[in-house]
């Protein structure tokens, strides 16, 4: 199987599959911090989306082009000013929320240029993370692979934190999926879920 086989990718990245389920066929999508373009490529293959990624890293720009997805080099946090209001059906932030510096203005920008926003992030409230802190150590895991002194993650949060954030800043959560590995978590999600995916819109 190729590195871009949709079945293989969905298994490796369950958040991709969750995101894809929410996205209508042929939707327009903006992926912030799109990395090597895997998610966009996955959505292009499985949902026929039309979209763009924004990415700052040189090697990732080449990887996106190789993946056959549109990529615009730039810093997503220095503004999405090139994009018009409601230009996209969905604006995505996959496993990047926790690495954003000005998180609140960015989420507002997502909802300016997109009708809906989708974010996925590692749940800091996951029991293994809590246990690690309880033992007196910062967690290092598959979802949080960095050492504390060398991490892009400056704004880690739990499910409760994110939902409080949405309430405080007039963001309406439409749907939530919580998972650990490939399994869906419904019981005690803030404790048992390692990854969360939210779909949201401007407050109504």
């Amino acid at each position: 199987m190729s590195a871009h086989d949709p079945v293989e990718l969905a298994a490796a990245r369950p958040d991709f599959a969750a995101i894809a389920e929410w996205i209508a066929q042929g939707a327009s999508v903006l992926d912030l911090g799109c990395g090597d373009g895997s998610l966009l490529r996955f959505l292009k293959d499985t949902r026929k989306v039309r979209g763009y990624g924004i990415e700052i890293n040189d090697a990732n720009i080449v990887a996106c082009i190789r993946n056959g997805v549109n990529v615009i080099q730039g810093d997503m946090e220095s503004g999405l000013s090139g994009f018009e209001d409601n230009a996209f059906d969905f604006v995505l932030l996959s496993q990047t929320l926790q690495a954003t510096r000005h998180t609140e203005p960015l989420v507002q920008e997502m909802l300016r240029v997109g009708r809906e926003g989708i974010v996925s992030f590692p749940n800091f409230g996951y029991w293994r993370n809590r246990l690690s802190v309880l033992r007196g150590k910062m967690p290092v895991s598959k979802e949080l692979p960095y050492q504390w002194y060398d991490t892009p993650n400056v704004h880690l949060c739990t499910l409760h934190d994110f939902e409080d954030f949405c309430r405080d800043f007039d963001v309406t959560v439409l749907e939530r999926r919580v998972m650990t590995g490939n399994g869906e978590v419904n019981l005690l999600p803030n404790l048992l879920g390692s990854t969360a995916v939210y779909r949201f819109q401007r407050g109504i």
């Binding site: 040189d58 720009i61 080449v62 082009i65 190789r66 549109n70 990529v71 615009i72 080099q73 730039g74």
Partner: protein, 377 residues
Amino acid sequence: MTKSVGIAVEQRATFDTPLTLSSGAVLPRYELAYETYGTLNSDKSNAILVCHALSGHHHVAGHYADDPKNIGWWDNMIGPGKPVDTDRFFVIGVNNLGGCNGSTGPSSIAPQTGKPYGSSFPVVTVEDWVESQARLADQLGIKQFAGVIGGSLGGMQAMQWTFSFPERVRHALVIAAAPHLTAENIAFNDVARNAILTDPDFHGGNFYEHGVVPRRGLRLARMLGHITYLSDDAMADKFGRSLRSGKLGYNYDIEFEIESYLRYQGDKFASFFDANTYLLMTKALDYFDPARVYGGDLDKAFSSARADFLVVSFTTDWRFAPERSREIVNALLHNRRNVSYAEITSTHGHDSFLMKHDHYHDVIRTYLNRVAGEVTG
């Protein structure tokens, strides 16, 4: 990366159908000098047109059998296994109308008079160039280019292709370009033109019949232009405040290395380039403004484009800074065109687009790999 296309052969195409230019002037007949590399495939779908900048020409890669040191100006980009891979693409370099490297221009003999056109050669625009290049494509039987690529003024031609002939370009690669010149850009061009126009040897553009060339003016124009192609950092790195003799001379001779370099570049350029062509090329730059007819709305200018785009800029380019490329990208986004944009970190200013730079070349190579897959697979 030592492979080359090898020996290049200059070809000429003659066009006898009159060409009406943007100015309203008509060229009854003209020739274009061009070179090709690689092999045109059976359905003629793998052609890439290379558009040149201000002082460029059709000799983009390889060397001449009788002049092995005359290597094409974009040889680091174009050749077997290179980013513009001549093993996969049929690559065409063309000298623009009004040029001085073989295509009909001010220094060519006008058939009506038997003398060089000189001041009677009409001003041509980017639109006119694209029109003339399309006729060359017709002669070669190419209905649609896999790609049109160019840097600077060449990038403007790549853009114009997508407006003038939307169905004839699959991909436009627009490098170190801008959607139009700023007042500052035009000001630099005007100083350069004034250097030529006020040279006593210019003779109103008809210097050929006086047996002279406006060498001083052309030299100054090139020196000024050259400053705008470099970056402050690159100049500081290469020359700094170094003195040729190591000490101050308290006179007006060439003392600093940068003075020596610029004068050398100016002298070299003045020995082979045509002053009228220089004027004409800078005017084409000044006039390029596809948004003008849409009241300045660049989005509308791009609304007819059907190509996919790769836009590339360089961090230290202050002639056409990355922000100018972003204007192009934004207009493409607003029109929902497929576009990718790379901002290359480079110290070499505007000239970066001519330099060998691994990441820059990777971007072009990777993009064109996909294009090759589309047209051959």
